[in-house]
Amino acid sequence: MILDSFKLDGKVAIITGAGRGLGRAMAVRFAQAGADVVAAARTLAELEQTAEQVRQTGRKCLIAQTDVTRSEQVNAMAAAAIKEFGRIDILVNNAGGYHKGMGKRLHELTDEEWREGIDTNLTGQFYCCRAVITQMLEQQGGKIINIASGWGLRGGKNVFAYACAKGAVLQLTRSLAVTYAKKNIYANCIVPGIFEGAAQYFQGGKFIPIGRIGRDAELGPLALFLASNASNHLNGAFITIDGGGLAGGITPTGVFPRLTETAEA
């Protein structure tokens, strides 16, 4: 039955950036669907809260305190996952986001700010993919979900390293898809619009076609779809969840051409 194909029973999922927001929402949803979770992030106290919510569903949660910009820590995270659970079926590359220098114009950016933006939002995803793929090849299958951003598809004023990194995440995903297609390893992207974590900057989402900011919990079902057998054959794709924002954009929301004479004729 179709609904059964969304289940994750017996699977093991690593989720980075799992300490809060979208990462926590995905961790809890995966656990509800039957997966054991490896929750990775930098801040231990936040991971403990996520782990508690995962465990409430009856699934196991391994906490892996990890800075994804440090490859030795990422490798240790993958090793810990294999030691604890014996397998890795799903990787969600969710860590990333704000970095120093975001909001600056290009000529104001320092080398360090640029590198931090790229390391946090792109290189970390590369490290994580590299750390899990050997295991996925051995298991003859796996699902990789990379979190990109609307700024990976469109330009942003004073958003440079972040936009470049997120654009590259789409390319990382496509090349993964083409390289491992015959090995049953699927790689896809989620392109989130504005969610709760950034709500304070976006006036309640008035400018979003659907009229509101996304709820963190709304990302869970999309991630579950991409992590489960329900999305087999979907590969190298990106799915946007943004209340219609990227479908438009060439006029401000609510501003559009009025009825013309030719339309009535």
């Binding site: 179709i2 509800q32 569903t57 329900a230 999305s231």
Partner: protein, 261 residues
């Protein structure tokens, strides 16, 4: 218990769905999947000769414990589509989900395609979808909401020699999807598309044209054609409350073909 929690917003239990083009491989697969996930389904066909096949499909849906109704017509006109919508509301109680599986492949050299071909291809693959969206959308806006999914092809994004008209019509469906989504975003109607790769469909050149098919399959990342039922996961996601924040988007199910060089 925990599982129900994870899957509950994928359920479309008791919803009323209209599948237009249910006689085609993708439409039939869509109808079956919607029924499996809990919907009652109106099966609409444009081919007079398909009554038996559709009745067979309706029986399968009935066996799942869902209601199924069949409507066959000789062509897809506005009156037919409007009647489909009315009949769905009348027989199933509402119209919550509409899936447009309308599609008539057409491949021919551009210089040999005349104006009649243009009109036919655009009518079969775009105008019908436009009319179906209008008729379904009108009812959904009136009744406080609904979801439309238009099935199109990855040709909406890439050129295909001899496919100039067909691919343009697919791109038109994708564009239609985006604008309708924005227009109805605050009226509770979501509109999305699924772009299919090369499908196992006897009408497709990927099956019918043996020489082409052999070369094509080697070029595909997974080296196989797509089975119609593989649209199921994406379709269910898009039509269910799980995708409440997704509108104006398309999902390509193509085994990675769009991302290769």
């Amino acid at each position: 218990m925990a599982l129900n929690e994870a899957l509950k917003d994928f359920s479309i239990e008791g919803k009323a769905a209209l599948v237009i083009g249910a006689e085609l491989p993708l439409g039939a697969a869509a109808a079956q999947i919607l029924a499996e996930a809990g919907a009652n389904v109106m099966l609409a066909s444009q081919e007079p000769g398909t009554g038996d096949a559709l009745k067979e499909l309706a029986k399968k849906i009935g066996a799942l414990g869902r209601k199924a109704a069949v409507k066959i017509q000789s062509a897809i006109t506005r009156a037919d589509l409007s009647a489909c919508v009315d009949l769905t509301v009348k027989q199933l109680g509402s119209l919550d989900i509409a899936v447009n599986a309308l599609d008539v492949p057409f491949f021919a050299p551009a210089e040999a395609s005349d104006d009649t071909a243009f009109e036919k291809v655009l009518e079969n693959n775009f105008k019908t979808v436009w009319m179906a969206c209008q008729e379904a959308g009108r009812s959904m806006v009136q009744h406080g909401g609904g979801v439309i999914v238009n099935l199109t092809s990855i040709m909406a994004e890439r050129g295909v020699p001899n496919g100039s008209l067909y691919a343009a019509a697919q791109a038109a469906v994708l564009s239609l999807t985006r604008s309708l989504a924005l227009e109805w975003a605050r009226k509770g109607v979501r509109v999305n598309a699924i772009e299919m790769g090369w499908v196992e469909d006897e009408r497709s050149p990927a099956v019918k044209d043996e020489e082409f098919a052999q070369t094509l399959v080697k070029y595909l990342p997974e080296q196989r054609l797509l089975k119609p039922e593989e649209l199921g996961g994406a379709l269910l996601y898009l039509v269910s409350p799980a995708a409440a924040y997704v509108t104006g988007q398309s999902v390509a199910i193509d085994g990675g073909l769009l991302c290769r060089v």
